[in-house]
Amino acid sequence: MSARYGMVIDLDRCTGCGSCMMACAAENNVPPLQQATVRTGLTPMLVRKVSNGLEGAARREAFIPIMCMHCEHDTPCVKVCPQQAVEVDKATGIVMQMPQRCLGCRYCMTACPYHARYFNWWDPSWPAGMEKSLNPGVAVRMRGVVEKCNLCHARLHEAKEKAAATGKREIDPADYVPACVEACPTGAIRFGNLADRNDPASQDARSPEAFRLLARIGTEPKVYYKSKEAWVRALAESKSGHGPETGSEVQHG
């Protein structure tokens, strides 16, 4: 039985603390290079600050964590990679990146509408001795390859090994919790199997306050957001809002 792992992030609860970013970077052996900038950095989980554009007492702000949306339909990066270095794992719905096969052509980065992919512009390096603190479950990538969030696939792997060791076929959901989900101090990130209607994440995704970014493009992202505030939900689509109604259907394929 295949799963469709996804997330629902409650933007009313995100305080922009950045714990998820830190936990993700530590879990995934992201090198602490100090020379990168906002445009050349490596942040598989990135929290962005947004506002309603007003000033003074009417100003409202919120924080939106952005990572790979694990798109389900016509996954843009999968479609364009010239050597199949990224594929959708049918059993879990996770979009898997293989840095060992990546050529570094960066076509997938051009294709991703969420800018969720990051290039290793430098060789990874740590201060002397810090390599001892690297997470053994995750490979260190070299320069010249693209990487992104993979829903802490190493943790899924550990959960599967744990289940196999006790003779079970299915993993215990409590054993597979991505680092960002575990780290969030307000529990804003909810993770689960969207294919299971009883899963709390799946139920959250079907609530009226839930939305997805750029849903009209038709990539069917599996990361949902939810907010009670209308101005936050309005950020789902591009600056021109929903665009003029032309009567034409959304093109697929």
Binding site: R39, R48, P82, C105, P113, R143, R216, L235, G241, V250
Partner: protein
């Protein structure tokens, strides 16, 4: 010929006159310097990594990709001229054929060289052949460009073998003769390959569902940009050849190409350009009114970022499209060399502008509601590498011009080259 201690007159084709060796080296020297600087810049990028460039996670493609697409479009004159001469039997274009092949060779080998630096892991370039992705336009581009480069090398070899010294070796003469029989086949294969890769280069951007600025619908799996790129390439190819030939004539002070040939090339270019403008206009209208809005992007937001406003669209279609198309085909303007060459330059500029809009502007335009319009300026390493490629091209062409009978009639033909 100036008498010097060193003279390369043995290498210059019999009956041809070329400038003295020292003047020739004087001409090559600055280009050689540029080439060396370019190789150094490229070496820095290979050694230290792509952090030497100003590309970043938002501008994953930058100057290099724009120029790659540009020179491949301009180098389309190679396959198109071959197609016209060997398949459509338009033999009046023969005098320009060798130049077309050399220009094509330069453009494609230069583009491939830059691509090898542009990727993060050049040693893994062969993975595309090992694990090809049939859904990806880039796989198609990789295969076709590699094969086409091979074809161009094979087309270049007969020209090389006509070198005065090499012709003295009988086995090479025989080899060249056999190759010569192959050339029409190569032309046909080249046309097919070029059709696909010129199109796929357009398809690279047209399939990007996540970039509504570039995304187009089209025919079956091919977005409209597939066909528009082919059209614009074959429209600008002949124009670029005209410019190259005119430059050679200017630099050497001699005439090789009959004016009539210029007019013919111009006319072909103009007609195709007109077709391209028509196609592009229809495509733009469809995109602005249907494709883009259906993805939730109203067109006005693309053009609200100064200075990339609607004037660019106007420039692409009218100033660098309709105008040169008219000038190249209208009898009065086409008769004058100055107008003809200016129009050819406009046409080439139009193609470059089109490639720029699609490669660079696509990445600058925001997608998410909370994104901004982004700026990008290439670093000196990027500019120097590319200048190195241009220098490489000038050097290769200069050497070919000096030592090979580029404009002379080939063996077995009776075409007569007359000065103008």
């Amino acid at each position: 010929m100036a008498s010097a201690v060193f003279s390369d007159s043995r290498w210059i084709a019999r009956g041809e006159e070329r400038t003295s060796l020292s003047r020739f080296l004087f001409w090559l020297a600055p280009w050689a310097i540029v080439l060396v600087v370019g190789i150094y810049a490229a070496g820095l990028c290979l050694y230290y990594g792509l952090n030497q460039t100003n590309m970043d996670n938002r501008f994953a493609f930058g100057l290099w990709i724009f120029l790659d697409l540009g020179i491949i479009a301009l180098g389309a004159g190679a396959f198109f001229t071959g197609f016209l001469v060997y398949i459509l039997k338009r033999s009046e274009l023969r005098p320009i054929l060798n130049t077309a092949v050399v220009v094509g060779f330069i453009c494609y080998s230069g583009a491939v060289a830059i691509l090898m630096i542009d990727v993060g892991q050049p040693l893994r370039a062969w993975f595309t052949f090992w694990h090809p992705n049939t859904h990806s336009m880039l796989t198609e581009v990789t295969f076709c460009i590699s094969c086409y480069l091979l074809v161009l090398c094979l087309e270049y070899v007969p020209i090389l073998l006509r070198s005065r010294q090499l012709r003295k070796l009988p086995s090479l003469l025989v080899f060249e003769h056999q190759l010569h029989k192959l050339v029409p086949v190569l032309a046909g294969v080249g046309t097919l390959l070029s059709f696909f890769h010129q199109g796929s280069l357009g398809g690279l951007y047209g399939v990007l569902r996540g970039r509504p600025f570039a995304f187009r619908t089209g025919f079956f799996i091919w977005p409209s940009t597939f066909f528009l790129f082919i059209l614009s390439a074959i429209a600008s190819g002949p124009s670029f050849l005209m410019l190259v030939a005119a430059t050679v004539e200017k630099v050497t002070g001699r005439r090789f190409v009959p004016q009539e040939l210029f007019r013919r090339l111009g006319f072909i270019s103009g007609v195709l350009l007109a077709l391209y403008v028509a196609g592009k206009s229809i495509d733009t209208l469809i995109w602005l009114n249907f494709t883009s809005p259906s993805e939730g992007f109203a067109p006005w937001q693309y053009y609200s970022h100064k200075p990339f406003g609607t004037p660019i669209l106007f420039a692409e279609i009218v100033l660098f499209g309709l105008l040169p198309a008219f000038l190249l085909t209208y009898r009065r303007s086409a008769a004058r060399r100055g107008w003809l060459l200016s129009a050819a330059a406009l046409a080439c500029a139009g193609v470059l502008l089109n490639r720029f809009v699609l490669t660079v502007q696509t990445l600058a335009v925001p997608t998410l509601a909370f994104d901004e319009f982004l700026q990008y300026t290439p670093s000196w390493q990027e500019v120097a590498s590319f200048a190195g490629v241009i220098a490489y091209g000038v050097i290769v062409y200069s050497l070919s011009y000096r030592y090979l009978p580029l404009f002379a009639p080939s063996r077995g033909e009776n075409t007569h080259v007359s000065g103008d």
